[in-house]
Amino acid sequence: MNMMTRHGAALKVENCGKTFADGTCALARATLDIAQSETLVLLGPSGCGKTTLLRIVAGLETPDSGGRVLFDGKDLTRQPIEKRNVGMVFQSYALFPNMSVADNIGYGLKLRGLPKTERAARVAELVALTNLGGLEDRRIDQLSGGQRQRVALARAVAIRPSVLLLDEPLTALDAALRERLRGELNDLLRKLGITAIYVTHDQAEAMELGDRIVVMRKGAIAQVGTPREIYFTPANRFVAEFVGAANIIEAPIESGELVLPGGRVPVSGRDAMSRAVAMVRPETIMLADAATAGLAGTVDSVRFAGDRQRIIVRDAASVPLAVDAPNTVNVSAGERVGLSIPPAAIRLLPEED
């Protein structure tokens, strides 16, 4: 298998905003560059404008005037979706109930005038790629949710699109299936090496699938970065809290240390500040001896999660702290515990909203 082939177009979304006819501003003006064969994930809570941005790229919505969408440098802003050669997987799949699985997958090829034999060959190729063997003649209403999802994907990919657009393609499925298909989808996107935009509100999906993630909030872009950048160095409080679990501590700083009700914690750099909003991930906090640790608190509750346990510690900081401890540690509610936080694990956030 040739993992290095690159497909699809490089995309540029330039200054694209969207105000709907009823006055709703669904998307503030945004500019994004998407490299060829990159998978870009749009992540954010419900109603933040992810679908709107995706539909602007697809050509299903026109951006407010001044906005432009470029495929490989070509301005396609005025072209409707049928002229853009995009592959789209809808949240509802939008499969055609009047056609068989094979006809659904082959529909885009038929429109392109591909001769029957070539069409059949390409459909067979995609049926194999998406593990749909044996279901070619089924009707859509005779498929399971996971199978429908794969037909939708195969149909979108069949036309060798310039860009693959996926709008929450796994949301309609149950949790176990979602996790499995997420892995399959990831393999497939890598194998195809195609430019893709993937919309989701599930941060685990975003982390696994995205080369880069665009975190959105209320119609605006909050941060763009690789999954690691987003997770370890969130640009603001919203991103920190939306992606993964985070303790957000507001506290004064004195001589390079955060001053907390339960003790002091050294922070690196930025001693000039007098107050800070700091983010600490639960898995970076370690339990220590209460007598000797710089920071101590009282165990409020312990939630056992199998592979680890989440311990909530009160009185250490102004807010209860979530601490992820190994599943072998034995603590119980009411116990005094010490906490140790490596300075590198503390991320200072800009003080806003």
Partner: protein, 261 residues
């Protein structure tokens, strides 16, 4: 025990209501095949009246069927694409157009006829042709076609289907032919049956628009009631029933199938 009695009473009441409606229809049909209605069925059973009606009104009946089919053709060719455009487009303009198309539902047939006469009455050859009645029937039945097609659109998520086909490169007319029409078929069929039934049975509007040479079945019916002996008029009713009942049954059947899906 009490339930039993209640059920029996309800059953009897239902029977009574059904009889109230069915007996006149039955009598009327029976009258059409009796030799002499005033002497009753013992005077004998005959098809002579039916034959007489056929001799006198065959042209009218055939014309009526042609008009019904013509109305169907126009409502299909205009109404289904219009419903598609209205539904997919959405917005204020689409709603306005929809309201205008539906307006004839709320206006008495007589008023529509009067408006047509006032507007087009001066175009003599149009006024005297079958097309004039056809036009009236199209105006009258269009809302039923558009509504029933739009109703099925709402249940099959037409907007997604349309966008799905568009994303694969289909221009609007291909989307309409390949995806929209096949999936809206039950609604189109239901609308078609309704249009044919309404056109065949329409009286108010047609009565105003007709000329001695352009008559439809119900207008002929009124004519025969007014001028023929009772047996002939009843035989006419019988023919009307034979035409219209299969359509009504088909409509019911399609409606039920649509619900069970």
């Amino acid at each position: 025990m009490r339930n039993r009695i209640l059920f029996t009473l309800q059953f009897l009441f239902t029977l009574l209501v059904a009889a109230f409606l069915a007996v006149p229809a039955g009598l009327s049909i029976a009258a059409g095949v009796t030799v002499n209605y005033f002497r009753g069925l013992q005077s004998g059973v005959t098809l002579q009246w039916v034959a007489q009606v056929w001799d006198l009104y065959a042209g009218t009946i055939l014309a009526s069927i042609m008009i019904a089919l013509g109305t169907l053709a126009v409502t299909l060719v205009v109404g289904v694409p219009a419903a598609y455009a209205l539904y997919v487009r959405g917005g204020r303009l689409a709603r306005l157009v929809e309201e205008i198309i539906t307006l004839p539902l709320a206006i008495p047939g007589l008023a529509i006829a009067l408006a047509l006469l006032l507007t087009y009455g001066g175009f003599g050859s149009f006024r005297r042709s079958w097309l004039f009645i056809l036009a009236g029937h199209v105006v009258f039945t269009m809302p039923f076609m558009v509504r029933s097609v739009m109703a099925v659109f709402a249940t099959i998520d037409v907007k997604s289907l349309d966008e799905g086909a568009a994303s694969l490169g289909a221009p609007p007319w291909r989307r309409f032919v390949d995806v929209i029409v096949p999936n809206a078929a039950p609604g189109i069929l239901a609308g078609s049956l309704m249009v044919v039934t309404l056109s065949l049975g329409e009286f108010n509007l047609t009565w105003m628009l007709h000329t001695p040479l352009t008559k439809t079945l119900p207008v002929g019916l009124a004519d025969s009631y007014a001028s023929m002996r009772l047996e002939v008029a009843s035989a006419y009713t019988l023919i009307f029933f034979v035409l219209i009942i299969p359509l009504l049954v088909a409509m019911q059947w399609i409606g039920e199938r649509g619900q069970s899906r």
